[in-house]
Each structure stands twice: as structure tokens, then as C-alpha cells.
Symmetry: C2
Subunit: 408 residues, 2 copies
Amino acid sequence: MFKPNSDYLKLPGSYLFSTIAKKVNAYQQANPDNKIIRLGIGDVTQPLCPAVIEALHKAVDEQAVAETFRGYAPDLGYDFLRHAMAENDFRSRGCDIADDEIFISDGAKSDSGNIQEIFSQDAKIAVCDPVYPVYVDSNVMAGRTGDYDESTGIWSNVIYMPCTAENGFAPELPKETPDLIYLCFPNNPTGSAITKDQLQVWVDYANKVGAVIIFDAAYEAYISEDNVPHSIYECEGARTCAIELRSFSKNAGFTGLRLGATIIPHDLTVDFEGKKVQMHSLWARRHGTKYNGAPYIVQRAGEACYTDAGKAQIKDMVARYMKNANYILNGLKDAGYDVSGGVNSPYVWLRTPDNMTSWEFFDHLLEKANVVGTPGSGFGPSGEHYFRLTAFGSYENSVEALERIKKL
Amino acid sequence: MFKPNSDYLKLPGSYLFSTIAKKVNAYQQANPDNKIIRLGIGDVTQPLCPAVIEALHKAVDEQAVAETFRGYAPDLGYDFLRHAMAENDFRSRGCDIADDEIFISDGAKSDSGNIQEIFSQDAKIAVCDPVYPVYVDSNVMAGRTGDYDESTGIWSNVIYMPCTAENGFAPELPKETPDLIYLCFPNNPTGSAITKDQLQVWVDYANKVGAVIIFDAAYEAYISEDNVPHSIYECEGARTCAIELRSFSKNAGFTGLRLGATIIPHDLTVDFEGKKVQMHSLWARRHGTKYNGAPYIVQRAGEACYTDAGKAQIKDMVARYMKNANYILNGLKDAGYDVSGGVNSPYVWLRTPDNMTSWEFFDHLLEKANVVGTPGSGFGPSGEHYFRLTAFGSYENSVEALERIKKL
């Protein structure tokens, strides 16, 4: 008799954002006349920029004619996009990344969920706490995380690195040595960033202990401060210890278009059973076996992000979201909230008032202000008593949400 | 020190089609003037049909305007597409499948590679031999297949079900009881089909022994004979034992657009540790955690396949490929080859002449006729001395390829 993957059954409840969606839908159905403002899930609201739209139409037309039709994409991505990314996101910043070290995918969520698969079953993971749920959940599904303690929300075989106001939302080096370290900066959910010098400490540490850093750079477009690195490959030695995840979702608004990339340098190797194994070749094999490439039309859309027009339009989109972030950040400060983030990130992270739990504040905000945010505890135990608001709404909605919050 | 997934390292060589591509490229570089005809990889060559192109342009325009812009898609697919599929592919054929039993994905390759993940680590798989490599390779990567014997090409912990001329390319029920049975009909690579009565035997067997059938229906659009089932859910009892994989690649030419679906009925359950577990909920959890939905514009393109215009245009595309299949099948027969397939399938399966190995015949065909096919042995041990040609070229190329083959 067949059996299910019992590790899946260990997962508590459903995925955070599904739970939120259900709660919001139930409230809206019970109160159909109330206008809910959603500053919860990190989804963008501005339409795709003209350069991207134009590239999509052009590519669609190519697919309509036999002479220019393209079927299966190359497993690892079209050269035109790999080259544009390597050149613009890395080499132009002085990062030594070759075109063929870039693997194009259908988004950073898939990549961040799948990347654990190329590591050994007994790999020990370290995560920031709070953290984007996919890093932990995908390792739960793979059977790496031990047992779950419902009362604390802690997995027995995961190294948690608390990020709270006490340490400026920057993790400290773990006492126990991990094999995989997930870092996301600018951070989701706290909106905090770390400097290049701080990140260099992590790179040095990973090289010293033989760990791999999975560096999620999904929010790099929001960096406004000079000393914050856009890529981990700005740090010396990162080629031998770091994998970077890139997304087109938050800069260019591709949340519904799906495009991302994983960077694995050829220098990321490990001696195993007498052979030097490149992690690059394992990921290439995964792509070749379980994936069939991102759509051609979407890869052309990605390429358009690196044209002069595309760059300018994306910069403008990001600026509009950051205007919201700034408004929310300062508005909450004025209202007496304890807040952080929002400077190098579209996320504003606040301490709940009156020591409410995160979910209590969620319900409070939903019912009294009709504003949806994300409970910090959904991101891990150290997120308890915190709450995330995003700058991805419209400016008008951001202003109205703040007015409502101030009235609470 | 981190370690790689050692199961990945067990995989012999590279993915079949990557190997072919490298060989062909090397030959072309050495002989730049020779015109190579590619009847190897199962990629389509006709452009997307007008109904699909129109839907893509319309959806792209929606993404250009804030009022109609759509970000993250629902995890499991847009209702409009799930409904269109359930209605047209299933309920109109008398198959009892609900909209919410359809999970939209970026293609059947991803789904067929990922589906094993929701089953237990010790699940024993049974596959046809020869077989689409992804079924086996994805289980190798998950550590289920035991050891590889290079001389025989056999994994110690896989149940192989030979499909050769001797049994009419239809597998017999295995002697050892499997947990997962991969079936693909019309078959890739042999091009053979089985009747509804034959498939019913498998459904009854799976229900009796408590196995799950993963039924790959990627080629159902090519079925020309009445007694061949388009879906496993045409068989009685399939809701309690079968998962079906659907693709838009081979019917509508979406190989470069990426769209597919997995169907898991709510009735597919297993008693585990005192609870009734729905496999539907495990797959939903995988989607929610490691995937972010197929692009909105691509899902609209999929929907267009079910309009009257879309249906007619797709029927015409399939007919054009089947004209090639018919030409190749009969041409090879005339030339004295031992051939099958090509009636309910775009694949023609031939026995190599003079007892050549599959790869010997590959090289022979490439060098002497400049025609690329796929070595049967690349699909498993029982594929040795067989060879696959596809009908996905143009009619002119199919005719020319046959002329060259006849001259050999």
C-alpha cells in the first residue's frame, strides 16, 4: 500500500498567506460594504512598465510565425537574458559572475523552495527568525528539520538566529555550525538591511566552517543606502560559499509573470567521496530533469528590464513604492509606533501596541481599520509581537490606511 | 562541512536530450554546410494558433493597466482555466472531475518530476521500459531507486515493465507489487496506445494492491482510434487510484510557453497513522510552498484553447503532425523497416536494422543521412535496438528525411 510523504504531514496548518487570504475573505463576505486596504502579502499593484509590455507583444508576435517560433527554451535559460543579468546585475557592480553561472527560472519562490534539494539529507539549516516561510517549510518537506513544538513554533533540528530590536534585526553568527545558511537582505519580513562589512563577516564565516549561504536578494532594487550590498558577490570570497537568488517580482512587478534566477559560481565546490563536486552541475541537472525553462516571451520581458527605457521605468516604479514606504514609516512613527525597515525595503516592521500578539493585532487591524497586514509570528517565533506592512499599495491607499490606523 | 545530495551523483551521464543536442552541435560545427533534419526531441515546430496569440496579446494589454493588472496568481491556478479544463477535457467525456481537482502548473515535465515528492521515501516505483527518463531520474534524485548497474542500465530498486514488439508494447502487470505505477499512453517513446479495457485492468489492479497510477496523458490529442481512452478517469474506479498529468505542449504547441496540469481527485486517500490523508491536500501544500502559479497571460492562452476557434485551430495543428506521422510510418514500412506507433501518437518507433545498437543507428543516421532521431536505449534497457522518430517537423522535412533514410 502506498504511503504519503510523512514529512509533509508535520507542517503546521497551511501556508501563512493562504491563512490570511481565508481570514480576509471571510471578513469581506460578512462585511461586504467595508473597503479593505491590503498591505499584507508582498504583491505589487503597479502595472508592468511600457518597455516590458512592448517586449511581450513583440515576443508573442514572434511565436505566431513559423520562421520565428521558439519551442522548448534552453534548460538553463536563454543566453540573451543570462548575459543581460550577468552584465547589469553583477559585472557592472564589480562582481565576478559569468553568464553561465546564472540559471533562469520561473521565480525566486520556486528556487528558494527547490535549492535545498541539491544538498545532503542531513544538512543542518540556519535561518533568521523571523524568516520567509518557504526556507523552513521546504526543508520540513525534505525531512531535515526534526520535530515541531507547537507551543514555541520551533523545529528541533533548525538553528534559529533571532533578529529583533535588541540586535538591530541583524543575526549573530550561530553557536552551532550549520551547513546551509539562509540570509535575505534587504530582509523579508523585517525590512532591515546589513552593510557590506556585516555581510563580509558572514562570507568569511561560511568559508571558514564550510557552510553555504543561500542569499536571497529579491529586494535589492529597494536599497537606498550606499554601504548596503546589492549582491553577496560584492564580498570577497563569496564565489566559494554563496548561492544568490534573484527575482523580477519586486523590482519590475513580475509577480504574475514569473521570472527569477539562481546564481551558482563554478567555484562553489565540495570534496565528496574523493571527487570535487560543483554544486553548479547538480543544479544544472535538476533544471535539466525537473524543469523545462521559463517561457520565451517572459524571458524577453526580463531582457527588456535591462534596456535604458526599462531601467528608467523600473526605477520610477520602485520610487513610487518607496514613497509609500516612507509615508507609512514616518506616519507610524508619528503615531507613536515602534517601527523599523522601510528605508532599503518596501516593508515596514512594527512592534504591536499593548503587547498584543501578532494575530491579535491582525484581527484588530482588520476589524477596526479594515487594513490587512501580516502577523510577524507567521514568520517565526521571534516575529511574535511584530507586524509587517508593505508599501506595495497605491499612495492613496497607503495614506488612507495610515489615517485609519492613527484613529485606532 | 556541507555535502551534496549524493543521490544526484548516482545519475549516469547527462539528461538524454542534452547529450543528443551536444552530439548534433558537434556534428554541425564540423560540417557547417550539411542540412540537418531534426526528428529527435519531441518539440513542436508550428507556431501558436491565432486564438492563442490573440488571447496572449489581450492578456498582455491587461497587465499594462493598473485597473486590470494581476499580480500573484492563485496557487493552484485561475478558476477560469481549471473550469475550462474540467469541463472540456473531463466532464464532456463523462469523467467525474471537479474544477478544484485540477492543479495548473508550468508543464507536465515539472509535474512528472515533482509528483513523487508527495509519496513516502520508501515508495517502490514501476515504470514501463522504455520510458520517459524524467519518471526514473526524479526518483533517483529522491533516493528511491537503489543502485545503478552500468552494464545493464538497470536500477536495483525499480520494477521495470518491458514494452517490446513481443507484447505489443503494452506492459504486463508486475509480479512484484509497486506503490507507484507510471503509465504514459499514448506512449512516449514507443507511440503505442492501449484500449480502455486494457487500462481498466490497470485501474482494477491498482485499487486491489493499493498502488497509485501516475497517468501521463500528454499525447491524448493524437488519439485517432475510438477504443483508446483520452483520460484514465474514463475507467471505473480511477478516482481512488489515479493521478493524471496533462500538457498543453503537444496539442497546442506550448513547449515554449509552459502550461500543464495535474489532476488529483479528492477520493485518492490513504489511511496513515490513524488519519485519512488526501493526496490532493499534499499536492496543494507543495504548490502553496514551492510554486507561485503559472503566468496569468499563459493561463489566458490556455483558456483560449477551449474556445471554438481554439479547438478548431488545434485540431488542424494536430492533423498536420499526424499527416507527417502517417508519412513516416508508411515510408519506413515501405523501406522494409519494422515500425510501430504513429497512429494514436506523433512518435514512430522503429527497430534498428542489422541489429545495430540504438546509439550506433543514431550516429549512422546523423552522419549518413543528416537526420536526428532519439536512441531507444536512452529510454531504458528494453529500448535497445529501437529508435524514435517524431512527426513534429514540417511535412517537407518529413518527406526529405524519409528520402534520405530510404537511400541508406
